[in-house]
């Protein structure tokens, strides 16, 4: 088994600015470097709250490593409602066992918001003594003994759609609920599988990656979409689409690329097949805390930021992409 140092790992993840991501080149190295005996794989618990499961479904689309290899050869996924064989109390008992057996060693992933209105009744998971247990209780319980927590998807990281106005379920992000344990936000609606697996593998093997002010790994969320967009030349030349199906920059049709930090244009989704703008569809800023309320209306041009006449309308960081911190 060859070891992969952090520098090489970051390089493979595309942090050095190469257009290739995990999906294209990581698989053989990841498998070679991180595979181990099944029992020794790092335990991962994945809990779903106010979510649509889209980030889980997106994770299944991983190609580097393929998700089947990740599940059997890289991590030990002890709990995931959509994938695990166990049901009912047999499944819920797994949580207790993991806390006991792997205290301080397991990684906790939260997908979805944590609704706290109506005494937490809007999301419950399992029962204790015949009473439904609020999801918020489960999250706090499991976070206490976790080595690190990942908030996967914009709902878990920032509240996302469930927390959009008027937030009828009192939905909270993970950062608003847990304290005293390292937290990494991996937003997106949904997340790219590379963002999730790349962050998880970094956590496991090198600890907490370098984060931005919103606790997002700079590894994946450090570039303004607008600056690396394939249609940036069209923007600079003033060539704008006025209907979605036309050619040109989508800025005037509501693209929020100029206020959004992620590597979608270079990484692309679904095995490098395409991304939103590639389908003539405006960026919704789905990785930002402002999603969806301040990304809307989706098809209306964003407010302009920065001095008039500058080529790149730079967002006012504190106000537009800031928030949580």
């Amino acid at each position: 088994m060859r070891s992969l140092d952090r520098r090489e790992f970051l390089h493979l993840c595309g942090a050095t600015g190469t257009a290739l991501g995990l999906s294209q080149i990581l698989m053989p190295d990841i498998i070679e470097a991180f595979s181990g005996p099944a029992a020794g794989h790092p335990p991962v618990v994945w809990l779903q709250g106010g979510s649509c499961s889209g980030c889980s479904v997106s994770l299944l689309n991983s190609v580097g490593p393929e998700i089947g290899e990740a599940l059997t050869g890289v991590i030990s996924l002890k709990f995931h409602q959509t994938l695990m064989a166990a049901a009912g109390d047999q499944a819920m008992d797994v949580l207790g066992q993991v806390r006991k057996q792997y205290a301080g060693q397991y990684y906790l992933v939260i997908e979805g918001t944590i609704p706290v209105a109506a005494d937490g009744k809007f999301a419950t998971l399992g029962e204790e003594n015949g009473r439904a247990v609020p999801f918020v209780v489960r999250v706090k319980e499991m976070a206490r003994d976790a080595k690190a927590v990942m908030a996967v998807g914009s709902c878990a990281a920032f509240g996302g759609i469930p927390a959009a106005y008027p937030n009828p379920t009192g939905s909270k992000s993970v950062g608003e609920i847990i304290r005293g344990v390292p937290l990494v936000n991996v937003p997106g609606c949904p997340t790219h599988p590379d963002w999730v697996l790349g962050t998880l593998l970094h956590l496991i093997h090198y600890g907490v990656p370098e984060l931005d002010a919103l606790k997002r790994p700079k590894l994946f969320y450090n570039t303004l979409i607008h600056d690396i967009c394939e249609r940036r030349p069209a923007f600079d030349e003033g060539h704008f689409a006025h209907r979605l199906s036309e050619r040109g920059c989508l800025y005037k049709l509501g693209c929020k690329g100029p206020m959004t930090y992620a590597d979608c244009p270079s990484r692309k989704f679904n095995n490098n097949v395409n991304w939103c703008v590639g389908a003539n569809s405006p960026c919704l800023a789905c990785v930002e805390p402002s999603f969806p309320d301040d990304s809307e209306p989706f098809f209306i041009k964003m407010k302009e930021y920065g001095p008039a006449g500058t080529a790149t309308p730079q967002p006012h960081t504190g106000r537009i992409t800031g928030g949580g911190n």
């Binding site: 499961s53 299944l60 199906s245 939103c276």
Partner: protein, 466 residues
């Protein structure tokens, strides 16, 4: 009498709980409930109507294309748009390919562990014990297909991404058609992906379903439920939508009839919603009331007239005359596989019919005031979105989703929902391993993120928690 509680029922989308009462080894009562509510309809009020497509598809990460389709259809109606040929075809391709993804995921990744012992490692341990009937060779074969199927379902999403940017949460279906036209290169790439997907469906998937159906043939007479099958129809084959791949219809009390959308109502007598949340979907104002007494679920109870109906692939295959063998847990699994086969052929046709020269998008003007309804078929069954636009904004939005039909609670007449009634009469010889219960629930492929609800436990009986 014993009460068995399974909370959560896993390997489905969302949070589901079931309580069954078992008397002399047979289920005599059942209550089914989800344990999550997000309030999408409340969130949608006041927003730009066009945003409904991208917002409502995020109701569900398994069926986003399906919600996007229903939302776009509702807006097409409200805005009086005629969708051009490529808009129709590309929407069909995006939704149809998601059927394939959904059906393959359902069989291999959500259902298989009920029938086959998968590798004895996380996340496949622990698992129920007992009634597993396949020999080692068959077990190994299906176990390896679990992993092959992961790659195939991923390719279904790659096919969609060629036209829709990414998946889940496609980016191309919009009011008026699709945002990007197909290019010859994208069509070619999609065709070769489809070839590979179709080969898997026509060989492994079909054979594996047959293998399971033989080994568990008693499940052809288990889990029937209400016996009524409903479909709204989907996949227009011409621009006027006068010809559909799946026609709308209802199999009601043993008779096939025309489906009348005006007979669809929602009942909230046992659901945690305030007065005014019931009635016709184009008039309700959904307001959650988690403290309502007598309620045990956040899923409403849609009814056709007064009738309880099952929706899904079996309903579509039945009303298309493709499969009318019976209504049972195993028939649902077989019908889903047959539908996947039908869909691969339809996708081939639509990929041939898309001509990059044709338009994909009609111009959209949001009216000051309008109503729209979009009725289609999600992979899991009949899906309807109702929108009311006022002052150019969404005033009211209502989605009646497949799992609301299937996983509904009792209504004001005390009639059980489709899954609840399908559980009645199931043999449960071993209360610690209620395999027949989870197999029957999974046969409906419930998607609870769509059909959000809650429950308060009342427990008159000695409780046996599994």
């Amino acid at each position: 009498m014993r009460q068995i509680v399974i909370d959560p029922v896993t390997r489905l989308e969302g949070h589901l709980k079931v309580m069954v009462t078992v008397d002399k080894g047979v289920v005599c009562d059942a209550q089914i409930a989800g344990t999550l509510y997000r309030g999408f309809e409340t969130i949608l009020a006041g927003r730009d109507p066009r945003d409904a497509v991208f917002l409502t598809q995020r109701i569900c990460g398994v069926c986003p294309a399906d919600h996007a389709t229903a939302a776009a259809l509702a807006l097409d109606v409200a805005c009086e748009i005629e969708v051009p040929a490529n808009g129709r075809l590309l929407r069909n391709i995006i939704l149809g390919a998601n059927y394939l993804q959904s059906h393959i995921t359902h069989f291999y990744h959500l259902s298989l562990a009920d029938y086959v012992v998968l590798p004895e490692t996380a996340p496949f341990i622990p698992h129920y014990r007992g009634d597993f009937r396949l020999n080692q060779a068959a077990t190994d074969k299906l176990g390896s297909h679990y992993f092959t199927a992961l790659a195939i379902r991923r390719k279904c999403h790659e096919l969609i991404a060629h036209f829709a940017g990414k998946m889940p949460h496609q980016a191309a279906i919009v009011a008026g058609g699709t945002s990007r036209n197909a290019s010859p290169e994208r069509i070619q790439a999609a065709k070769s992906l489809l070839e590979e997907i179709a080969a898997f469906i026509n060989n492994e998937y079909e054979e594996d379903v047959r293998l399971l159906a033989r080994a568990y043939d008693d499940y052809f007479s288990m889990g029937k439920g209400c016996g009524n099958l409903l479909t709204y129809g989907a996949f227009p084959l011409n621009d006027a939508s006068t010809e559909m791949l799946f026609n709308s219809g209802i199999f009601l009390n043993g008779q096939v009839e025309k489906m009348d959308p005006a007979l669809i109502t929602e009942d909230v007598s046992h659901a945690w919603y305030a007065a005014g949340s019931e009635g016709s979907p184009d008039a309700v104002h959904t307001v959650a009331d988690p403290a309502k007494s007598g309620a045990y679920s956040f899923v409403k109870a849609p009814r056709y007239g007064n009738a309880v109906c099952e929706v899904g692939p079996l309903a579509r295959m039945w009303l298309s005359g493709i499969y009318t063998n019976g209504i049972s847990a195993m028939d649902r699994i077989v019908a889903r596989m047959l539908e996947a086969k039908v869909m691969t052929r339809s996708l081939e046709r639509w990929l041939r019919e898309v001509n990059p020269e044709n338009a994909c998008e009609a111009e959209v003007h949001i009216p000051w005031e309008a109503n729209g309804v979009g009725m289609t078929e999600a992979a899991r069954g009949a899906l309807g979105h109702w929108v009311k636009i006022n002052r150019g904004k969404i005033e009211r939005y209502e989605a009646v989703v497949p799992t609301t039909w299937n996983a509904s609670p009792r209504d004001k007449n005390g009639r059980m929902g489709a899954i609840e009634s399908a559980l009645i009469g199931l043999p449960v010889p071993d209360e610690a391993n209620p395999l027949s219960v989870v197999r029957t629930i999974h046969s409906f492929d419930p998607c609870l993120a769509c059909a959000v609800h809650l429950i308060t436990p009342d427990k008159p009986l000695g409780q046996f928690i599994v």
